[in-house]
Amino acid sequence: MEPKTAPEKFIVPIGPQHPALKEPGHFEFTVEGEVVTNATARLGFVHRGMEKGAENRTWIQGLYLMERVCGICSHVHALAFALGVEKLAGVQAPPRAQAIRELVSELERIHSHLLWLGVAAHEGGFDTLFMFSWRDRETVMDLLETISGNRVNYSANVLGGVKIDISDKQADAIRKGMDFLEERTQHYLKVVTEDETFLGRTRNIGVMSFEQADFLGAIGPTGRASGVKRDVRVDSPYTAYNDFPVKLITHTHGDLEARFIVRIQELYESYRLVRELVDKMPTGDLSVKVPRRIPEGEVISRVEAPRGELLYFIKSNGSDTPERIKVRTPSLCNWSSVLVTAVGHNLADMPMILAGIDPCFSCNDRIVTVNRKTDSTQMDWEDLRQFGIEYYKWM
């Protein structure tokens, strides 16, 4: 037999479908032994043609369509769209509406970060943390339901303002909820920075240097965990962020642990902001009138979604339907950068690294086939996750 000279090289496909989770995606990791040498993505399994769809609908219908781009961060999509359209129309929502928009944005961020904490803990094999954080997330989901009537797709925005108001009773419920969550969050921060087994999965894993994150355009908590000072709320304040500013949270390590710490510290900021907003809510109207036909022009509307900068490019031809709506979601940016940085890491770290950017994550549970000349192993996402957990158990 001839001795093998070339190293074994396998492609491990992950995804695309998992009916129980949110967004399917398909990744192919080329591995040499344990180490990932190349990574690519295939998206579009839930491509719904919304950008095209928006061109055939009125501006008002577009608002509802855009709110449904994402189920987790629905409010920011409607907000980015509404802000852009209002700018083109030359109108501005009243101060109370702006404050309520910020309030709902921050409540949404709280629910999204807690959801992520649970998902990421689950990928790391820490299901107790997963269950606790999701239990606590119900607090903020209930608050959102109380003020808007919906757990998701709150539909708080209209073009020109908001359609929900905050009563004193609701404000009290929000304050109580924030107190409870703040106490719980202190516990989570302690767990993710002190628990030995968990640190084994996060410390110095998936490191993205400042240089990489900055140049490749990493945004949101993923970028901030590498020290990239990018936060649209701070850089280019929209709605009420001028009057109720947010503190920029960054970390320098750029590893998974830093991504946990940044998101958890952002939760504190959100609690503080939410309290301040309900305490000092401006009085006045909730909306202004926006014309049915939007004047011709182009506008770029940027907001900070829970996962990072969300960019809308809106072009109007002067009619009652848009000429073009371009949506660039934060996950797309972060996928691009994480796929580049995945190279060189162990296959066992992939679930955590992918979960670490908080993609609207889902690409699970398809069969993974590792082709070898002599034998063939099949792994689905659950197996790979388990493989990751076992791999680190004996380190």
């Binding site: 998206l43 579009g44 095209k52 490749l216 850089d235 506008v299 490019f313 073009r324």
Partner: protein, 169 residues
């Protein structure tokens, strides 16, 4: 103030490449450039000077519409119009956009993947939905559309109305 400074810096970095410069909003500056200057321009603004980061690539179909006087029906006039690519760079509140116009007959532009590796997905998206060819892009696999999507059918073009219509020609 800082935004204004950033915009002026972008203007000075790109002055050699810009055919025209425009300020559509107070925090934005647009540069119309020739497609052959795309790579040098990206090099100048991002690679050399690290002016912000590439936030998004927007593709546009600037179709020429004509309105029938009697029926008031809007149809596309194939004699005009063009495709356009918008490369948005963001630095804090400032946004600089490189605008590259491409004709329908020859919608080709150099890939900037070798300058910024993370840009591959944006290029794949524009290639698939608008039929723009990025010369030298490393990955041309389908990103968003189904595997069985017919070749040469670009759903975000204004001429596309449905798959059935496209099949009829």
């Amino acid at each position: 103030m800082e935004t204004e400074k950033a915009l002026e810096l972008a203007e000075s970095l790109l002055k050699d490449f810009a055919i025209s410069t425009n300020r559509p909003e107070e925090n934005r500056v647009d540069f119309v450039i020739d497609r052959k200057n795309l790579k040098p321009a990206v090099n100048a603004i991002l690679v050399d000077k690290r002016w912000g980061y590439l936030s998004a690539i927007t593709a546009l179909d600037n179709a020429l519409w004509k309105v029938d006087e009697t029926t008031k029906k809007k149809t596309i006039d194939p004699s005009g119009g063009s495709l356009e690519l918008l490369y948005h760079f963001c630095q804090a509140a400032a946004v600089a956009t490189l605008r590259v116009s491409l004709s329908y007959d020859d919608p080709k532009v150099d890939s900037i993947c070798d300058l910024i590796s993370s840009v591959s997905m944006y290029e794949r998206e524009a290639a698939e939905l608008y039929g723009i060819e990025f010369v030298g892009t490393p990955n041309t696999d389908k990103l968003l559309l189904p595997d069985n999507w017919p070749a040469g059918v670009y759903p975000m073009r204004k001429t596309f109305t449905s798959l059935e219509d496209s099949a009829k020609g």
